[in-house]
């Protein structure tokens, strides 16, 4: 029950099938990494889980703690506990991070209940300290003029503030230099715990040097073709993805 359970889903965009029968379970408390070559459908999986309107799930189901979430709007899923750290976070001109996050936290409160400003800021500053962020950061407009590293740190700050049950991190390492990568990885590590399940989507092994996964899955052409422990990532680093492409022809491997 206490897991994010993807059951044999197929999904398409503009009538082109990208996810072709994928199953995967991420229990709370665990970190699962999905690796795969470009175009294997990793980011599509992230968007499907979050409910992006351009993607259509044609079969299968996604259960969060036993409840099917596929019929829910993106914001309903988010409030129930799914968080997606975007590969390319959007700008929201004129809206400060503090105000944006406040609206997001407020949206999780029961109808009619107002967020206490002092409680909110106390929590925000606590999380920022945890992530070693400068206080001035949250008075900037969301992602406007941010460097790649700042955008990703902003995603992690939101993850920390919104305390989801399951977090999907889509290529969080892309576009980061090694210092920024360490900062982001430290942030994620500090949030690991029994109440959070993490699905880490990455193209490169190097992120996994800093965030050690409990399980590693390899995705090729819309399916998981191999699963293993962290040593699988090292094997991929050494051998590349080509040796796995042959396995794609076979039916789903779990």
């Amino acid at each position: 029950m206490n897991q994010l359970e993807i059951q044999n889903i197929r999904a398409e965009i503009a009538e082109q099938e990208i996810i072709r029968g994928l199953s995967l379970s991420v229990p709370k408390g665990e970190v699962h990494a999905i690796m795969g070559p470009n175009g294997s459908g990793k980011s599509t999986l992230a968007k499907v889980l979050a409910g992006h309107p351009d993607y259509k799930v044609t079969s299968g189901s996604v259960l969060m703690d036993g409840e099917d979430i596929l019929a829910l709007e993106p914001d309903e899923r988010a409030r129930k506990g799914i968080f997606l750290a975007f590969q390319y976070p959007n700008e929201i001109p004129g809206v400060t991070i503090a105000n944006f996050l406040r609206a997001a936290v407020q949206s999780r409160l029961p109808e009619g209940e107002e967020l206490e400003a002092t409680d909110y800021y106390a929590k925000l500053y606590e999380k920022m300290d945890l992530l070693e962020m400068d206080r001035a950061f949250t008075s900037r407009a969301v992602n406007e003029g941010f460097s790649g590293g700042e955008k990703k740190r902003n995603e992690i700050l939101q993850l920390a503030m919104l305390e989801p049950k399951y977090a999907v991190l889509d290529e969080t390492d892309s576009g980061l230099d090694i210092d920024a990568l360490k900062v982001v990885a430290n942030g994620v590590n500090s949030l690991r715990g029994p109440e959070l399940g993490v699905l880490l989507i990455t193209h490169y092994q190097r992120l996994l040097d800093y965030i050690i996964p409990d399980h590693v899955h390899v995705m090729v052409q819309g399916r998981i073709v191999r699963s293993g422990d962290k040593s699988l990532a090292l094997e991929l680093e050494e051998k590349g993805y080509d040796w796995l492409r042959d396995e794609v022809a076979e039916p789903t491997l779990v």
Partner: protein, 472 residues
């Protein structure tokens, strides 16, 4: 959503669109249509002095002779049928000084809109107009003792003719346009304010305009004179319930800022979607005076309004900060006029418009600096935000700057709220409507920061309500 407000300070939004009305049982009703008889009826009821009656009759002739501004304005103006409008409705011409004396149904209307509450909280004085006449008008004793006059226009022209007559119709002549002529013929209600030299009115004065009757035309007339070195902030709010037939609101507002005076004039208009809102607003700024129009247009079917400042004295300064939000089926045709008429005058226009669905926002600006002037400056910025693919925005800046010693700067931008941006915000838990209203608030944020606090909080609430109504 994110608001710090406890109550609606400007009283516009207790319930969504002020969309409620009580049966209209007016004592005085000029009937439907406009003839000389109608004007005599209004003059008789109001016991106008002869000069006012003559002024009205002349204006009526001007109104008849003026064509509709069809050469550039929206064709929707043709939907106004002057013969079907009721031009005067009231239950008395004497505004009450105490809420206790205001008739019960009228009092209920304004209480639902939060008016007496705000007066206690932060206003220096309030006038409340219900259809044609002010029903309540009060100014705090301390402000009155400084010699500040704040009454309805009817009372102003009768009790203070020496000031009233000197300026009335001088900033905006009757023949300025067809609607200013119409207003001059049938005007009723509106505020008359005089602030004596050197008096700085600390808290805002507020007027509240309410249309309660169907097929009705509201023609208030406001005249504000701020004497040398004096300062005033004036706020007006407007609502009407939703009727099946169109309603006309056509005001004339004249401001005079004498040497070194400062006027800030703030409008929050939230008319229902059936109101034609055709308003002429202009100020004269004398030497070193400052006039700032803060103009916010949210509702109405068609708004045509271009607040202006005639910069008449050296170093005078004029400013228009405007926000227009055009929802489905609405057209906000707004802008600003800056007429430089003295050396070293400066003007600043910042306009932000938001178009939702089939809504259309038009910016129309006129900046005029003649050749013989020196060291004049104008800055114009207009930014448009489109919410949907079928939303529309147009910009018509007319900037004429002659001579060599003057400078002008103009920037315009159009942006769109993208589906990806909305998805990003939804992924953080905001509903689609909340995401859009936050985007819109972000878009207007740098402008709103310059507004008085009560006003910016209220504006955010109105935008949220409007976005909730327009999504899903």
């Amino acid at each position: 959503m994110v608001t710090d407000t406890e109550a609606a300070p400007l009283g516009l939004e207790r319930n969504a669109n002020g969309d409620f009305s009580y049966p209209d049982t007016h004592l005085h009703d000029a009937g439907v249509g406009l003839t000389e008889e109608t004007i005599h009826y209004i003059s008789n009821i109001k016991e106008d002095p002869d000069w006012v009656r003559d002024f009205r009759l002349n204006a009526y002739k001007t109104f008849l002779s003026k064509p509709m501004p069809t050469h550039w304005a929206s064709k929707d103006l043709e939907a106004i049928v002057f013969e079907n409008i009721r031009y005067y409705l009231s239950s008395g011409t004497q505004a009450k000084r105490s809420w206790e004396d205001v008739p019960e149904d009228v009092k209920r209307t304004f209480e639902r809109l939060g008016i007496p509450e705000q007066e206690r909280k932060f206003l220096a004085g309030v006038e409340a107009q219900f259809d044609s006449e002010a029903v309540y008008s009060n100014i705090k004793a301390a402000v009155g003792e400084q010699g500040v006059i704040f009454v309805g226009s009817t009372e102003g022209l009768k009790n203070h003719p020496e000031i009233f007559r000197k300026w009335f119709g001088k900033v905006i002549p009757t023949g300025d346009n067809k609607f200013s002529a119409l207003n001059s013929a049938v005007f009723s209600g509106g505020s008359f304010i005089y602030v004596p030299p050197g008096v700085k009115v600390k808290h805002p004065l507020q007027a509240y305009f309410r249309i309660n009757a169907e097929n009705f035309g509201q023609f208030e007339r406001t005249l504000i004179i701020v004497d040398e070195g004096a300062e005033l902030t004036y706020m007006e709010g407007c609502t009407a319930p939703k009727f099946n037939t169109a309603t006309l609101h056509s005001a004339v507002v004249e401001l005079v800022a004498l040497k070194g005076a400062k006027i800030q004039y703030i409008t929050v208009q939230n008319w229902s979607a059936n109101v034609f809102n055709l308003v002429t607003k202009r100020a004269i700024a004398h030497e070193e005076a400052e006039v700032k129009w803060i103009d916010c247009n949210i509702g109405s079917r068609l708004t045509m309004k271009y607040p202006g400042v005639v910069l008449k004295g050296r170093k005078a300064r004029g400013e228009v900060l405007s926000i227009a939000l055009a929802s489905n089926g609405q057209h906000q045709d707004t802008g600003a006029k800056m007429v430089h008429a003295a050396d070293e005058t400066t003007s600043n226009i910042i306009s932000k418009s938001i178009s939702i669905g089939t809504g259309r926002a038009t910016y129309r600006g006129l900046v005029h600096v003649p050749k013989h002037l020196k060291n004049c400056k104008n800055n114009t910025e207009c930014d448009a935000l489109l919410i949907n693919a079928n939303s529309r925005t147009d910009t018509y800046p007319a900037i004429t700057v002659r001579g060599t010693g003057n400078s002008v700067q103009h920037e315009a931008s159009v942006s769109q709220v993208s589906a990806e941006q909305i998805f990003y915000m939804q992924q953080r838990g905001l509903t689609e409507a909340q995401a859009m209203s936050l985007s819109v608030n972000g878009f207007v944020n740098d402008l709103v920061r310059q507004f008085p606090m009560e006003y910016s909080v209220e504006l955010k609430r109105l935008i949220e309500l409007e976005m909730e109504g327009s999504v899903g």
